[in-house]
Subunit: 289 residues, 5 copies
């Protein structure tokens, strides 16, 4: 079995291999035009697969690159994007582990299997982010939280797209009947399908939870505005009687009751406190604090 590793899709090596193994021009073109969907296609004497490894970019955002695999009876060709060290490392690791492997379908399964498992750390990280977002939405619903919710939503939407296509690919793999894939590999491909389906379940659950987080955010802000309004109203309640009464006694009008009395101040002050007290008691009865 020969394993051809290509890290520059534009290289002439790919053209030579295409001529040697009779690869379809459209498949070679797919390798050279990035941003394909994950898919599997049967060619003449080989199987063409596009996988979507994911990586976290420098800006913290999720990015999906392409990894193309041609699988024939006695050859595997992997075509990776030029500038993706993660994929190079993954391929290198598998190459080392399977140096003496004679069957191309086993190598192919190993690559697909490891790739599917490589989504897990990202999923765990997203899960953690959503946990934190829920707490923050409840306790401090700032615009930053809103922005993070939206960014996480964006990541989940993209990830879901990748996983849905990968699941279709894995489902196709379970049904495939080509001479260069041994029948005993089928349980292993079913296992791959199971893993992708579990990943997809996780993404769907996270999408649902994230939508809940946004609802919590909005409800939480509404609740806080309600609290602020209550504080404002309580403040007004404390101040208004005093203002009204002191305004009354501030008038340059004759005959203000008790104004000339030596206990005038005490009486007025008492009136203020009683009115404020009554208002506060009413608000307390209404369950405001």
């Amino acid at each position: 079995m020969e394993w051809h590793e290509i890290y520059d899709p534009a290289s002439a090596e790919l053209d030579q291999l295409a001529a040697r193994y009779g690869l379809h021009p459209l498949h070679v073109e797919d390798c050279r035009h990035r941003d394909q969907r994950a898919k599997i296609e049967e060619g003449q004497g080989y199987l063409f697969t596009v996988l979507k490894p994911v990586r976290v970019g420098e800006d913290g955002n999720f990015a999906a690159v392409d990894l193309d695999i041609f699988l024939g009876t006695d050859f595997v060709i992997t075509v990776a994007e030029t500038d993706c060290p993660e994929v190079r490392a993954l391929i290198g690791r598998i190459h080392q582990a399977m140096a003496n492997e004679a069957r191309s379908d086993r190598v192919y399964h190993r690559i697909v299997d490891e790739l599917v498992d490589s989504y897990l750390p990202l999923l765990d990280k997203l899960n953690e982010t959503i946990d934190q977002l829920e707490d923050q939405a409840l306790e401090s619903p700032t615009p930053d939280v809103l922005s993070t919710i939206f960014a996480t939503k964006r990541t989940l939407i993209f990830l879901r797209g990748v996983l849905v296509n990968t699941r279709d690919l894995a489902a196709h793999l379970q049904r495939i009947e080509v001479p260069w894939i041994s029948h005993e590999m089928m349980p292993f491909f079913r296992d791959v399908y199971d893993h992708v389906a579990r990943n997809l379940d996780m993404v769907e659950i996270m999408r649902d939870l994230l939508a809940g987080t946004l609802d919590v955010y909005l409800s939480s802000v509404a609740n806080r505005t309600n609290q602020v309004m209550k504080v404002l109203t309580v403040l007004g309640t404390i101040a208004l009687p005093a203002l009204v009464i002191s305004g009354f006694y501030g008038m340059n009008v004759k005959g203000l009751p008790a104004a000339e009395s030596p206990h005038g101040v005490m009486l007025v002050l008492g009136a203020m406190l009683v009115t404020t007290g009554v208002l506060l008691w009413v608000l307390k009865r209404l369950g405001w604090f």
Copy 2:
């Protein structure tokens, strides 16, 4: 019929049984790597099933563990997680009740049946929680209610995932054709399917009701803010005429009307009360209280 109960998936006993009965390495691996999806797979001479018993953890949160079953002509192997007393109790109870049972498919059905029924108490508890949440959302929409709504949503989402997979498993069981499951068991498996489907219906209904609870919460908060605003405005309405008029008479300006009159205070007070009264009457006409 032999029933092998294993409570430590890492034990060598599982390896011996795998060798004896020809269990597929992937299935043994599934027993040892937890967090599988509920599923059913046909192996060579046996049926491999993963079930998901649920338990309420110490923190009040829902948790699903794994219970793996191998069913062959004359054997049943159950592999439970090490640290789950509930599953151990359930298996023990069935073991005692079916001590003299000679057919492995009956034992298998009993385990699946009891497991599906074990979801009911949790579902009832959730139903009760949602009932309470609705009342609380209407009467006291605090952040705690929001937090409980979210936690309940999380539980329902997870539970739904488990039940969807269990339903697929039960649907598969109805169609299965293997020599070691007697045809007369089919009505019983259809019954299991019915129970899972009913559980799933309940979860879907609860999800729908919970979404309604959140809507009620948000509307309730909006309503309360509206009430608070009205109180604030009514307070302002009562106070403002008095403040404006007393401010007017507090000016150090000559020629304030009626200021020198002996009935000045009465006239001014009357003006205050009339203006406030008119404003309150207008608000009442607008239907504010």
Copy 3:
């Protein structure tokens, strides 16, 4: 043809009939454990059907009970819940109308048909409630309206569950091929299916309308809060210039302009009215009232 009416599922009569007609133990058990889903199952020599009559309980809430029917070549067995006068009345009415009917499939069709039609009054009542709720949500969005919306939603969710299962049952009836159902009944079962489907359409439409009612409620509350805020701001606009100017002239400071003038009060009053007027004019230009 014999029609066995049973109104106590626990009675020994059911056991005798089970022995006589060879009813499957699971079906007998279904009769005794309430809260089954509407379903149809083919037994050995008979058809087992679970229907879900609905009734409005004393608390005004919707409740579904069970009505089980066994249909064989020359017998019909109906098993009703013990404490449900409505079902007893319905069965009694049909029994009287079909006293001389010799064919069991006609009796069976009549029961299913009348049961499906018995949902209509409830649907009409719900439709009316939703009409009222819309008006109330627009005109007086009180917490009571919110509570009624939620209760109606709950009823619709349950009703939908019942009708979906009944529709599947009716679809199954159209395809069934058993010797004890004459082929000429098929158009009648298609008619039953049509009625269930129309009921289900109505429920879906009502769910959609109810969701709209909640949106109207929330928007209506937001709108009212907006109105209250405007009133508060307009009140402030009227009062503030007067307060500021009278405060200014209330100062114990020398040299207040025009304070000593005999027209002082008129000038100050004019200044107050002009400022307030200008502010009101600005608000009017902004389209506030």
Copy 4:
């Protein structure tokens, strides 16, 4: 070919025709009980179709009536509701245009085709309404707009129900194999299907747009409340420093700074303007206006 037009479903003529052509009693009953779903059913020697012409009632609301068609080898029977001039006009127009038509399937196609096209004016009117609603929701979100949104939603929900059933009917027509429909009519029925599908697409698009309109309404109200709050706060900002300072100088306390100075008023007025100016500048920096 004979075309029987019936405008009174209760008439004895329908019974005579039923006897003559062997129409199934259930179909005759469907003609007499209104509010059927659009559907197509194969009878013995004829095809029974229920169509749903729509009309705009006097109250501006949408209403669907029934139009029943029996199609046989050499006859067409149309049964319209008694009190619907629009349907009578449509039938009359087609009757005139096809007076010499010898084939019943062509007449049948023409009726179905014209009926499907008769939905277009209503759809165009709805589209226009939604366009206006969007503008109004943005510019003047009054309760009237909310009420119109809800009424339009109701119309769309009903219309969608009618069109979904009509689409199923048209799909059924494409697959039908009866001797009295010539095979060369198939492209014409596919054309009818296309038109219904396009109508349904339009309705789905309008539902989506209308949901957007409601979101715009709610966001627009929230935005306006935000603006009102800002105006209130800016008003408070302008007035508060003046009130605080004039209150201070209004106190009957000895030793008020600069109170005795001849430039006292100017100093105090300056202090008021500077404080207000600083507050306004801060609000401007925060981007409030």
Copy 5:
């Protein structure tokens, strides 16, 4: 192979071609009545296809026009709308590139392929718009942003409709079996399907993101209102103690404490500052700023 380009659907040339190649009258009619759905239909000896090129109109809005193609063994007929320079340019470009092409199916594939790719610039522009909208919704949620969100939603809804129909068309193309399409074209049609599916994925993702943008908008406005309320309350907090105390000392009542003291002003001022300070400290403890 002959390629007939028609840029005026009403021209007599189309009638002549219809007669020559036996085109179905309904297909000719489809060419002349615009606003068809994208579709593919098999005629006698030819394939009829409706494509939907998109263009950005002068008002910045999206518009879809019709492009009809008839494909036979040795002919291609393209019928474009009269007033669409973009489609004319596209056809012209392909005509030049494939001047010597002898096979009609290759020409047909090229047209379909280029048309599907012509959606990409519009999709990229929409993606950019949504990116900007998210930022604007967070930072300056004005009514303009709301209006743009709605317009973008409208475009996406229409675009989705076009793409769903085009995808069905492409799926149909993959399965088609007609003598005038060589079997070796199949991988190329699968490639077209892939491109349409990817475009559709992008639209679905953008719809999801846009819905998120609206949620962000609403949450952002709610948050801002909350901020404004806090500012208003803080302003009130600063002013109220001063107002109450100065009102108190402004009263024409005897015996005001410390009013006669030479340090009166200082004492009163101190009381004001301390009360305000305490209130601000309480608000700070509540986490308001």
